[in-house]
Amino acid sequence: MSMSVAAPRTVGRWRLMPARGTLSLFELVLLAAFVALVAVRLPQNLQDVVVLTFLWAGLALAWNLAGGYAGLISFGHAAFFGIGAYTSTILTAHLGVTPWIGLWIAGLLAAAAGAVVAMICARLRGPFFILSTLAAAEVVRIGALNWVTLTGGPEGLSILPTPSAANMVFASKTAYAVLMLVYLVVVYGVTKVVEGSRYGYYLLAVRDDEDAASAAGVNPLFMRTSAMALSAMLTGIGGTLFAQYFLYLDPTHVISPELSFQLALLPALGGLGTAIGPVLGSVVITPLSELLRSYLGHAAAGLHLAIYGGVLIAVMLHFPGGIAAALDRLATRWRKRAP
């Protein structure tokens, strides 16, 4: 957030840099670049990176609704992701429900789980909240691991790989890239609407000073619960999309603590409580870790993640507000220098 009094730089009637409640030129250019990435014929492995970057950006945005705007730092979002992935897959396998419908049911179940977690942890703050969400996700993971008749246990579930648009299984990666981009744009849109609305300001008020917000007539329990439910719902839908892309899921991959950490790290790195931050986080980190993995993976196991860990430390210590804040500072400096 810049404290400068200079008027925001605009090009025509568009703002240059992202700001609360309006669309900026920066966001439109980024969207155009994303569309171009889908349209251009990239090699398979790069298409894979594009698909994952969009999916992770959407998931990071979903996490940010609770973690960034409502201050609910959750290390348990893998539970909602896993509930989403399993719900649609089980519905398809046992009842023949198409994932196009399954994803809504997945979202609703994840939202219910999110509301329950928010209510259980309603009184907890800081590390206590973080660790409780981690514990709640572990309960879900161990449950999924042992409820073999429903989830297939540790062996997991596979989705029939026959391409069929009705079953949300596609032969081309381009189709998946479109799907993930639509998901990203929808979650981005929800974030923009929330942050510009009265509801969004209530969330920030509860996050920044619960007592003052409550004295002003905002119900903190309702705000926290609804923000967590919304965030969990979008994460659950992302889980369905993930399952449809990989066509395989097991508790270790879709409900692991590592996944929860990843879901929280991307927005933290990009910039909490901003719409553009989580997208930037994913745009920087997902290609970095995917490309490092494919180029260095054989040379040295673990090197790509070691670099990733180092980048996390360096960015957090030098830019506590994340990439979005760094970019904002850069833009402010440039604006001051420009005549």
Binding site: R125, G126, P127, F128, A135, P257, G302, G309, L312, L317
Partner: protein, 295 residues
């Protein structure tokens, strides 16, 4: 009846080991008010140290303590100086993400240097158990439990009686007032963090004859340590011992009577129940859980 007694005894003994591994975490939390998410990886590094001292230098794992503990103290100082100290002035999430980054970094450097193989050291007495009346106990567990109790009492005494301990407690109660009284608060933080790390080194040497070490060993143990620390009351030293024993007993009973896989689920559920009904933990200060420590 003997079965129940045996299960309780085993649970209490293993609980002591769990407590030992958690004391460093609770000490650091109590003083610096930060959760070190790389705690498990500190344990991993120290266990590799204990393994190397045993297998490569031919030391007894308990003798390795004299090398591993000071090394971990220095390692803790280094981490505090480079990462935790600078992050303390920032919003709470910065230290969370930075220690998590450190955890990922250490885990994967471990993977690069040590490969994913499980390493272990030979058990004491060729793996025979001691008999105590009708019960059996592994000597490593009995020694570990004794060390945990001594360590808890010693740390407690140190915090009550020594000058350093008084300075630490003054810092916890009111950092600003402590600074005005001439206590170098940043140095107290540094020493506490390093001491927490040294305690992890001690735990690693005690655990090495009981558990294998591999690069991701930290994750299993750190989740147990989090549960224990919160259960006992974050920042409470005796609480960690009590919490460790509770978790040990719950785990050994539920793995015998229900299923090993569900044992872990039980203590996470126990954890959530404590969070709902007594968020300050068994021996914690009332109200800690909803102090505004997140900003």
């Amino acid at each position: 009846m003997t079965t129940v007694g045996q299960l309780v005894l085993s649970g209490i003994l293993i609980g002591g080991i769990y407590a030992l591994m958690s004391i460093g975490l609770t000490l650091v939390f109590g003083v610096l008010r930060v959760v070190n998410f790389a705690h498990g990886e500190f344990l991993m590094v120290a266990m590799y140290g204990a393994w190397a001292a045993t297998r490569l230098l031919g030391l007894n794992p308990y003798v390795a303590i004299v090398a591993v503990v000071p090394a971990m103290f220095l390692f803790g100082m280094l981490v505090h100086w480079l990462i935790v100290g600078p992050a303390l002035a920032q919003p709470h999430l910065v230290v969370v993400v930075a220690t998590m980054g450190l955890s990922i970094l250490m885990q994967n450097v471990g993977l690069m240097l040590a490969s994913a193989d499980l390493l272990d050291v030979p058990p004491l007495l060729g793996g025979r158990s001691w008999t105590i009346g009708p019960f059996y106990a592994k000597p490593e567990l009995v020694i570990g439990f004794a060390v945990a109790v001594v360590c808890t009492l010693g740390l407690r005494w140190m915090l009550q009686a020594s000058y350093l301990g008084k300075a630490i407690r003054a810092t916890v109660q009111d950092g600003e007032a402590a600074m005005l009284m001439g206590i170098a608060v940043p140095r107290i933080f540094l020493i506490t963090f390093a001491a927490g790390s040294a305690l992890v080194g001690l735990a690693a040497c005690i655990m090495m004859p009981l558990f294998s070490v591999f690069p991701t060993v930290g994750l299993n143990f750190v989740l147990i340590a989090f549960v224990i620390v919160v259960l006992g009351g974050m920042g409470s030293i005796e609480g960690a011992l009590l919490g460790g024993i509770c978790i040990g007993v719950v785990q050994s009973m539920s793995s015998y009577y229900i299923a090993p896989a569900f044992g872990q689920m039980f203590f996470f559920i126990l954890f959530l129940l404590v969070m709902i009904f007594r968020p300050s933990g068994l021996l914690g200060q009332k109200g800690t859980a909803n102090l505004g420590i997140n900003n």
